[in-house]
């Protein structure tokens, strides 16, 4: 855990700046994670560096290569004296220096061989990150991991092009950390505790001080109720009505003997909040869609906790919740004296706790009905209920689906490569063509300095064959082919650094289950400093 100590350094101090992003439980997940890196390339070690620094549990490098001249040039974790040694070993050792809390290991073996001799080796990892792998082995690895449900992140830096593809069958996100989220205040559908609290308060017989320190939530509640009394029990619905409500609240501000309105900040806050607080409380469409997902409807013994929890919440919504999700149970800061504020806060906390208790009951029933012991902690239930409005689910397509012409997203790709604006998806096609070239000639185009020009027509042929197989016209310009040949499969450190940062961040999202990862392909064009995310 984040607050334990090792080697004299307090982890909560060392990791302070990141705990503020993903919290103690995100850190705990990271510290339990086992990451496998295939190939200690420049991009590979960059990704690992960015995972080791924040304290990922352990890593294993699989690489059958020996360190060569170009490795030293672009890889920070390989030095001159490592020439000719195992790339996996040297990189693992140098990376280990970054963080003593992380344990590192290596396997001096080609992934091809490992897949044949000991494929279950890959089952044990939280995520496998494959860099600069040839297509054939990659597809084998991907199909194996797909079957075993192990997430795979494919990364590549190729000259000025960066590429990243996430392959994860199903990845639920409970804490998606939306950038802007409305508070869950329920002024339109007040719960009993809130009604009782508000009913006990009489704004009229308060002294001046009390009157200006009633939390705006209560002020607004009072005036909405007043409005309802004269409008057939309905809250203001449109802009005009909301403005009328604001005027009503404004009239409620106390006045001095001279008839000048007092400065009552709480009333001003209430007026400011009319628009947002009157947005009707409902179950977001993303969550409603998840309720109808097959996995949620047909639970079984092996169902993931996410689906079981979701079903429990669904049952809550359909019964006790009366169409609403469990209450989030937090309120924003506001002008108020602390007694009233805490009272109000308490009413939200209590209602949220009541809702959680109901969900927990439903959960027990479900677990029993599918014949599973209680494997979901109280904290998990709490976090799930608190974030019920922000639940997200990522389902990536498999690599096989992407590569198989019958299931490939031909039309999307066509739209991109025919685009006048020269979409970066063109480089996706070119990288695929490069792999075909490699398959045919056993080296990358432009690998040998004296063959760059000779490789251009060959790569062009590979590309056009690929396009033909996909049923696409050969419309990609020769300039691109030239450019790719010029790269000679070299890795530019800055591209590796960029994609290394982005890829490590996606890996942390997968590991921590927080924030929403990409779905599913990211391409970076360092020449133009542009990037694109597409689902392929």
């Amino acid at each position: 855990m984040a607050n334990s100590q090792k080697g004299g350094i307090d982890k909560s101090v060392k990791y302070d700046r990141q705990l503020r992003l993903w919290g103690d439980h995100g850190q705990a997940a990271l510290e339990l994670a086992r990451v496998c890196l295939i190939n200690a390339t420049a991009i590979g070690t960059e990704i690992l560096k960015n995972l080791i620094l924040p304290g990922t549990g352990s890593y294993t490098i699989v690489d059958g290569h020996k360190v060569q001249g170009e490795d030293i040039g672009n890889n920070f974790f390989l030095t001159k004296d490592a020439l000719g040694k195992s790339r996996a070993k040297v990189a693992a050792e140098l990376l280990a220096e970054l963080n003593e809390d992380v344990s590192g290991d290596f396997m001096e073996e080609c992934p091809e061989t490992l897949l044949q001799t000991n494929p279950s080796f890959f089952n044990t990892f939280t995520i496998v990150i494959a860099t600069n792998m040839c297509e054939r082995t990659l597809l084998q690895l991907a199909s194996y991991l797909w079957e075993k449900g192990v997430p795979l992140l494919v990364c590549r830096s190729y000259g000025f092009i960066g590429y990243m593809r996430l392959v994860v069958g199903e990845h639920p996100v409970v804490e998606s950390h939306p950038d802007s989220a409305h508070e869950d205040l329920r002024l339109d559908r007040p719960f009993t505790g809130l009604v009782e609290l508000c009913d006990r308060i009489n704004l009229d017989n308060m002294n001046k001080k009390e009157h200006s320190h009633i939390p705006w939530l209560i002020v607004l509640y009072k005036y909405i109720e007043e409005w309802k009394r004269t409008h057939n029990g309905e809250a203001p619905k449109n802009y005009r009505e909301k403005n009328q409500l604001k005027d009503l609240i404004r009239e409620g501000i106390r006045k001095t003997k001279e008839g000048v309105p007092e400065e009552e900040e709480n009333f001003m806050e209430a007026i400011k909040s009319v628009n947002t607080a009157l947005v009707p409380t409902q179950v977001p469409s993303t969550v409603r869609k998840l309720f109808e997902d097959e996995e949620c409807l047909n639970l079984h013994q092996e169902s993931k906790p996410f689906w079981i929890l979701l079903k429990a919440v669904k049952m809550f919504v359909e019964n006790e919740g009366q169409g609403l999700l469990p209450l989030r149970g937090t309120i924003p800061d506001m002008t108020a004296d602390s007694k009233r504020y805490i009272e109000l806060q308490q009413s939200y906390i209590e209602q949220a706790a009541d809702d959680i208790a109901v969900v927990t009951e439903k959960l027990q029933d479900i677990l029993q009905s599918i014949g599973r012991g209680c494997s979901i902690s109280e904290q998990e239930i709490k976090t799930f209920c608190k974030n019920a409005g922000f639940l997200r689910l990522i389902r990536c397509r498999s690599l096989a689906e992407e590569f198989e012409p019958r299931t490939a997203k031909i039309q999307e790709i066509a739209a991109h490569i025919e685009d006048e604006e020269h979409s970066d998806v063109i480089f996706y096609i070119l990288l695929r063509a490069v792999d075909r070239f490699y398959e045919e000639y056993n080296h990358y185009p432009g690998w040998y300095d004296d063959q760059v020009e000779a490789d251009v027509p060959k790569l062009k042929t590979c590309m056009n064959k690929l396009l033909h197989d996909m049923g696409l016209p050969p419309t990609i310009k020769d300039d691109y082919v030239h450019e790719i040949c010029r790269y000679g499969a070299s890795e530019i450190h800055t591209v590796a650094s960029y994609i290394g940062g982005a890829a490590a961040q996606e890996a942390i999202k997968i590991i921590s289950g927080q924030f929403v990862p990409i779905n599913n392909t990211f391409i970076y064009n360092a020449m133009k400093q542009t990037s694109i995310t597409v689902e392929l």
């Binding site: 984040a2 607050n3 350094i9 909560s12 060392k14 990791y15 302070d16 700046r17 990141q18 503020r20 992003l21 103690d24 420049a42 560096k49 960015n50 620094l53 924040p54 304290g55 001249g69 170009e70 030293i72 040039g73 672009n74 920070f76 030095t79 970054l98 000025f160 001080k209 200006s212 320190h213 400065e263 800061d333 002008t335 004296d337 602390s338 007694k339 504020y341 805490i342 806060q345 308490q346 906390i349 300095d449 010029r486 000679g488 070299s490 530019i492 450190h493 800055t494 590796a496 650094s497 960029y498 994609i499 290394g500 940062g501 982005a502 490590a504 961040q505 942390i508 360092a526 400093q529």
Partner: protein
């Protein structure tokens, strides 16, 4: 080194990479990544400057540093670590402030590109101005959590860093801090001020005692309080003198300090009754009789994320007073402590003092974790964002080095319009702060009338100083008659004259 780069970069660009002198300002999160990227891209001539020393909380991302480097110069360690990976590079490090006069125009002019990897606006502004003055391209950058930015700034071609006003760091009116706090942040700021008053540099703007000049006290109200003060020259019965010397005199006695701050000063505040007509009045506390319950719910079990009861706060406050006294005395006479969010005792001090004050004013307490964020202006920082940003900086530098940025002429406007330059220019600055020195020509343009004026600044040499009359800060040399407006139809005369008017 950087072998695989050859052939990928254009030849012209590769030559530039090999021969260009680069300045990296800052060796923190982005700086470490940047140094690594530069070395591995083939840059051979790099200078790096950073005033900071390495802190434990840097280790989650600043990968050129290790545990054993804590306390050492960031610039020096970064240089040593980067050199291990490419001994061919020539890196010079400065453990120094970029504001220092040694790093003037001549220093900046040595470089082909300057790269900012800074964490504060003041230094960014300074480097921005130096680069504009020296006409050296600047690549500015920054990161905060998952967000980051990279901007190329080149005199005459792009906007400069200060073209867009940055939101100033929040400050609060003194009387809110001293008399009428209403939010947790007010109490936190007060607690930081208290730290400085007791142990640091005393700053009259950071007074923590009740403020009798509160505008709300104008007129009759508060008169009694004022009278009491003029009579006794005391606050809450304690003679008014420097807080620090008073605290030293009583040996930082927790009991006395607590009762002065949280009992007597509060009682004194209460006597300013006008303040409390519309506010909840504070309730003073006594060291002997403290509540031991925690308000609201306490989330989390970790010390940092649990709310402390007032009694706990007082105990911790008392302990900190003693510990900090020890730290101060170690420094000898005239020593002072600087508040640092990463110093545990300093952080405990602020947490406990802020929460006690919050309790008194009926403001919700905050956990130490939250207070650290608020007091330290902590910006979350992670390795991944910095890696991305540093990659982008070097990519942008290729464009700059290839000369894809051309120079055009630009005019700087110093406006006299009221309010227009507020916050940008501080009146107390003198011309040399803007690099306006002997021989500088300033072009002035009055946009209310059609009147332009070019002023040539001539710094006086010593022997003519006595020619200046008393109280006169400058003299106009030249013929005043020439300064009269000329008819509009005339073409601008741009000869030897000191002014143009048309």
């Amino acid at each position: 080194m950087a072998a695989s780069m050859s052939g990928v970069l254009e030849l012209k660009c590769e030559e530039k990479v090999n021969s260009s002198k680069i300045l990296v300002v800052g060796a923190g999160g982005i700086g470490c990544e940047l140094l690594k990227n530069l070395v591995l891209t083939g840059f051979k001539d790099i200078e790096v400057i950073d005033l900071d020393t390495i802190d434990v909380s840097n280790l989650n991302r600043q990968f050129l540093f290790r545990k054993e480097h804590v306390g050492m110069s960031k610039a020096k360690v970064a240089k040593e670590s980067a050199l291990q990976f490419n001994p061919d590079a020539n890196i010079i490090s400065y453990h120094d402030s970029i504001f220092s006069s040694e790093y003037g125009m001549d220093f900046f002019k040595k470089f082909a590109v300057v790269m900012n990897a800074l964490d504060n606006t003041a230094a960014r502004n300074h480097v921005n101005r130096m680069c504009l003055a020296a006409d050296i391209p600047l690549i500015e950058s920054g990161s905060a959590g998952y967000l980051g930015q990279v901007t190329v700034i080149k005199k005459g071609l792009t906007e400069c860093y200060e073209c867009q006003l940055k939101p100033p760091q929040k400050s609060y009116p003194g009387c809110t801090i001293r008399n009428t706090p209403s939010e947790p942040i007010h109490c936190i700021v007060w607690a930081k001020h208290l730290f400085n008053q007791l142990y640091g540099q005393e700053d009259p703007d950071q007074d923590v005692s009740p403020d009798t000049e509160d505008p709300e006290l104008a007129g009759e109200a508060g008169k009694s309080a004022l009278e009491q003060e003029s009579k006794e020259n005391s606050v809450g019965g304690i003679e008014r003198k420097s807080t620090k010397s008073w605290a030293m005199q009583i040996g930082y006695d927790p009991h006395k300090i607590f009762n002065k701050l949280f009992r007597d000063d509060i009682k004194y505040l209460l006597s300013m009754d006008k303040l409390w007509e519309k506010r909840r009045p504070p309730i003073s506390l006594d060291w002997e009789n403290l509540p031991d319950t925690v308000e609201g719910s306490s989330v989390g079990v970790i010390h940092d994320q649990r709310l402390w009861s007032i009694k706990e706060c007082a105990t911790i406050f008392g302990k900190c007073l003693g510990d900090l006294k020890g730290q101060l005395s170690q420094q000898g006479d005239g020593g002072m402590l600087v508040w640092d969010k990463d110093d545990d005792i300093a952080m405990d001090f602020v947490t406990s003092a802020a929460n006690i004050r919050a309790h008194i004013f009926g403001i919700p307490s905050k956990t130490r974790f939250d207070i650290k964020s608020m007091a330290g202006n902590i910006i979350p920082a992670i390795a991944t964002t910095n890696a991305i940003i540093a990659g982008l900086i070097v990519m942008e530098s290729f464009k700059v080095l290839k000369g894809q940025i051309e120079t055009v002429k630009v005019y700087h406007i110093i406006s006299s319009e009221e309010g227009e330059t507020e916050g940008q220019l501080q009146c107390r600055q003198i011309l040399s702060d803007f690099n306006i020195a002997n021989g500088t020509r300033l072009k002035c343009d009055d946009f209310l009338q059609n009147y332009n004026l070019i002023i040539t600044i001539a710094t006086q040499v010593t022997f003519i100083v006595d020619k200046l009359e008393e109280d006169k800060e400058f003299d106009v040399i030249g013929d005043l008659a020439d300064l009269q407006p000329v008819e509009e139809s005339e073409k601008p005369s741009n000869d030897e004259a000191e002014q143009i008017g048309w």
